[in-house]
């Protein structure tokens, strides 16, 4: 399995799911929810993470090439998060900025960060930070109370 560690320090949990058919999308959702639970994400945040990971898995399926989807804890200073990553050889000849715009458009605010790094092959990284997620939960409740 290729190392797709990304820009942050890795920490447990470290999990991976091989994506090769549509059943694997359910397994991806389930595994991400478990990883998110181990790191302390709320059920609502885990729903976001699962949806983001499933979207990445669906992209992998569309390429027709089986691929590992990696899930691991990450740390930056005091911040702890969950990173979802996958190699994306199919992006080799596409401008990174276009890829990021397309991913942001598809995933919206489901995750805090979307990065594409490297070119042999490129790797897509998505990160949700626990502290930012808690703040977003509070904002969502405020918006709801204010009719937003």
């Amino acid at each position: 399995m290729a190392q797709t560690t990304g820009p942050y320090f890795m920490q447990p949990p470290v999990m991976s799911v091989r994506v090769e058919d549509s059943m694997d999308i359910m397994i991806v959702r389930d595994t991400v929810r478990r990883a998110g639970s181990l790191l302390g994400f709320s059920p609502a945040n885990r729903a976001q993470l699962a949806s983001a990971a499933a979207s990445l898995a669906e992209l992998v399926l569309k390429t027709g090439e089986p691929q590992e989807l990696n899930l691991n804890g990450v740390r930056q200073g005091e911040k702890v998060g969950l990173q979802i990553s996958s190699e994306a050889a199919w992006l080799a000849n596409v401008a990174t900025s276009n890829v990021l715009i397309a991913l942001r458009s598809k995933l919206g605010d489901l995750v805090d960060e979307i990065l594409v790094e490297g070119d042999n092959p490129p790797v897509i990284f998505m990160v949700m930070w626990l502290s930012d997620a808690a703040r977003r939960d509070a904002q969502r409740l405020d918006e709801d109370e204010n009719g937003g």
Partner: protein
């Protein structure tokens, strides 16, 4: 006394399956088959938990969830959306409507539902 869940689900087959899951962990379950009935049930006899489908006749689950969360009589009741619409946009719509979790109806749905009930302190 057993805690009570209100299930708002228009499919009788799926309602029976979800009801079985909720009863298996000791909850009593009332079922409403559309949004307006569900809202009325929730206000008249507030349950400990609401499990809500997205695709409903008359009023969709997002609208139902928003109304539940804006009504002081029901705003503190946890709402779990259990749905076939699991794309990113629908997920965010459910969470922005105030749902406490948004769970796709797949083979892991029952397990995720029970895990969430435990985390929300309902079990």
């Amino acid at each position: 006394m057993a805690l009570e869940a209100l299930l708002i689900e228009d499919s009788k087959t799926q309602a029976a399956q979800i009801k079985d899951t909720l009863e298996s962990v000791g909850l009593q379950v009332r079922v409403a088959f559309d949004g307006p009935d569900g809202l009325r049930e929730a206000v008249e006899n507030p349950p400990s938990l609401i499990v809500l489908d997205v695709k409903l006749p008359t009023m969709d689950g997002f609208q139902v969830c928003r109304r539940l969360k804006r009504n002081p009589a029901t705003q503190d009741i946890p709402v779990i959306m259990l749905t076939e619409k699991a794309d990113p946009k629908a997920t965010m719509s459910g969470l922005r409507a105030g749902a406490d979790d948004y769970i796709p109806k797949d083979i892991f749905a029952a397990e995720h539902l029970i895990n969430t009930l435990q985390e929300l302190g309902i079990l």
